[in-house]
């Protein structure tokens, strides 16, 4: 009896592994091995043409003490985390709340706000270069109509990052749709119960909508955080990191070090620091989440 059961177990394991094998093999080649190799490269000097040369902690020391651009790119990226991310989280939520009102023509509005987010990244980057053109772009022309002299946007170090944040708001439809799905799941009875208790619009928003939506906000926050640290295509197309390195973000600096300077070891060290920062930031969000994320069906202490 025992041996037939064991044989059945083995057969189940074989079938399970066989079906999972595409991902298992892919994981070994494209994730597990690269993680180890990248950690190893980060302690070497490596130009991909000759074999890696062990240099110990030198890459990390250079990064932290000598590379001005590393710190600059980190500061630029943090700027986007501190200003760009909250701006798009709030805008996405605000739009979703508007779209959740019971009004005529909602399906059409929803499409209008969603479409910008599916425009291919390079196409929308080119479009925004044109919209943000200081002399003849649409935005400064409209500002001029209102009697305002628009800034140089992508050509002005002080305005380049805000310009990118503005462009990000145009594409906020992706997170808006996720909020909207969450909003439509909030049970009506909760609002009705709150009304019976005499809650006004603001109180319902604070004590019903926000808690019920907190898992979705949490999801968008974590995804946005990871995405911001990897912000690349837009700046590669629009500014190449300029003006005066104002849009040199972490992922762009890493790419340049790897593929322009062929410093794969150095770039790998940067990748590991990025990894550490992402993990730390995400862990921080997760740690605080117990305090502000509410999962229905789970009693709070």
């Amino acid at each position: 009896m025992r041996s037939t059961e064991r044989r059945r177990n083995l057969r189940a394991l074989a079938a399970g592994l066989a079906f999972a094998s595409p991902w298992l093999i892919g994981f070994a080649i494209f994730t597990a091995y690269p993680i180890c190799a990248s950690l190893y490269y980060s302690f070497t000097r490596y130009d991909t043409l000759s074999t890696p040369h062990w240099v110990g902690l030198q890459n990390y020391m250079r990064l932290l003490t000598e590379d001005e651009l590393f710190w600059k790119s980190l500061r630029n990226t943090l700027f986007m985390v501190v200003f760009g991310l909250p701006a798009s989280l709030v805008a996405g939520l605000a739009l979703a709340l508007l779209l959740n009102m019971k009004l005529r023509g909602m399906a059409l509005y929803r499409t209008v706000f969603y479409i910008p987010s599916i425009v291919p990244t390079v196409a929308s980057a080119v479009l925004w270069m044109w919209l943000l053109n200081p002399q003849i772009g649409l935005i400064n022309r409209l500002l001029a109509l209102a009697g305002v002299q628009g800034p140089g946007w992508l050509t002005d170090p002080a305005w380049a990052k805000p310009a990118l944040i503005l462009m990000g708001l145009w594409g906020v439809g992706g997170s808006m749709i996720i909020y909207l799905a969450g909003l439509q799941d909030v049970p009506r009875e909760l609002y009705e119960a709150a009304e019976i208790d005499g809650a006004g619009g603001m109180a319902k928003f604070r004590h019903v909508t926000i808690p019920m939506l907190s898992p979705v906000i949490f999801f968008n926050l974590v995804m946005g955080l990871i995405g911001t640290f990897q912000y690349f295509t837009q700046v590669y197309v629009m500014t190449q990191g300029g003006p005066q390195d104002a849009t040199l973000f972490y992922a762009l600096h890493l790419f340049n070090r790897a593929f322009t300077d062929l410093q794969f070891g150095y770039a790998s060290a940067m990748a590991w620091i990025l990894f550490a920062i992402t993990v730390l930031a995400t862990a921080l969000v997760f740690r605080t989440s117990a305090r502000w994320v509410y999962y229905p069906g789970e009693m709070r202490q």
Partner: protein, 275 residues
């Protein structure tokens, strides 16, 4: 319970104003693509030219070998979509319908790879493809798709979980193998979810920039994303042609989205995946 009148009005006004802000860039893109070279720089604010210059489209498409890039992109995106859908559905079957020791731990591993920044694995993967002699070919952009994608494996697993177990049990009683059940029971019942995966993968590959930038160096092999970016670096100020090229690159994606919209909604609601 109806909202008060003023609220309905305020809602419409706000939504209309925001819609205008969302749509103006598109109008500006279309209008510019139809302007004569001199009109682009005219100080007068005008969205659409009095006489549209349709020739901008053939001109833009001739400037960059657009048809070629579109074909390259189509090939990569279509094969990626096939690969990801096929492999992910196989793997999802294992994680949802087969019971094997260690399955849940492996599934957790799969989910945790979603948090890994691409930058960590990107350079060694490049070295692997370089060693294989694949840099400068489409292979690095297509082959990985056939190993599945963690996110879509997760999505399909959630979907497969909703299909009644009795259906596969009945097939098993009739002597069907697991492969038969996957092919004859699960796949036909999962069409909305599979279409969602295929379309999202297709759109993602159509959109991809970093991959082609790393792996394609011969300009006859560029994709639309890479071709458009190169066009910007070479002919910066020809905004009418650039906008025409952008329109042509964007249109198929918007069409595809409209076609797939109903399936997306079905696929997403049925799987219960919304974050």
């Amino acid at each position: 319970m109806r909202a008060p009148r003023w609220k309905i009005w305020a809602g419409h006004v706000t939504l209309l104003a925001l819609s205008a802000a969302a749509l103006l860039p598109f109008l500006w893109m279309l209008g510019t693509s139809l302007k004569a070279d001199a009109e682009v720089f005219s100080p007068r604010l005008q969205f659409f030219p009095a006489r549209p210059v349709w020739e901008n489209y053939p001109r833009a498409l001739a400037y960059i070998p657009f048809a070629r890039y579109a074909l390259n992109t189509l090939l990569i995106a279509a094969l990626s979509a096939v690969g990801v859908t096929l492999a992910s559905s196989l793997v999802a079957y294992s994680f949802s319908r087969l019971k094997w020791p260690g399955r849940d731990a492996v599934f957790f591993l799969l989910l945790s790879t979603l948090m890994l920044p691409a930058q960590v694995t990107m350079l060694p993967v490049f070295v692997v493809f370089k060693t294989l002699g694949w840099v400068g070919t489409f292979r690095p952009l297509i082959v990985p798709a056939f190993f599945g994608s963690a996110f879509f494996i997760f999505l399909l697993r959630q979907f497969f979980m909703t299909i009644p177990q009795e259906l596969s049990d009945a097939a098993r009683m009739d002597g069907a193998s697991e492969l038969d059940i996957w092919r004859r029971v699960m796949l036909p019942l999962s069409r909305p979810a599979l279409t969602t995966v295929a379309l999202f993968t297709f759109m993602g590959a159509w959109n991809d920039f970093l991959g082609p930038l790393m792996y394609l160096n011969d300009d006859t092999m560029y994709t639309l994303s890479l071709g458009l970016q190169q066009f910007v670096t070479q002919h910066g100020a020809q905004w009418n042609l650039l906008m025409a090229a952008s329109v042509v690159m964007t249109l198929p994606i918007i069409l595809l989205w409209f076609l797939g919209q109903r399936t997306f909604v079905q696929g997403v609601t049925l799987t219960g995946v919304k974050g």
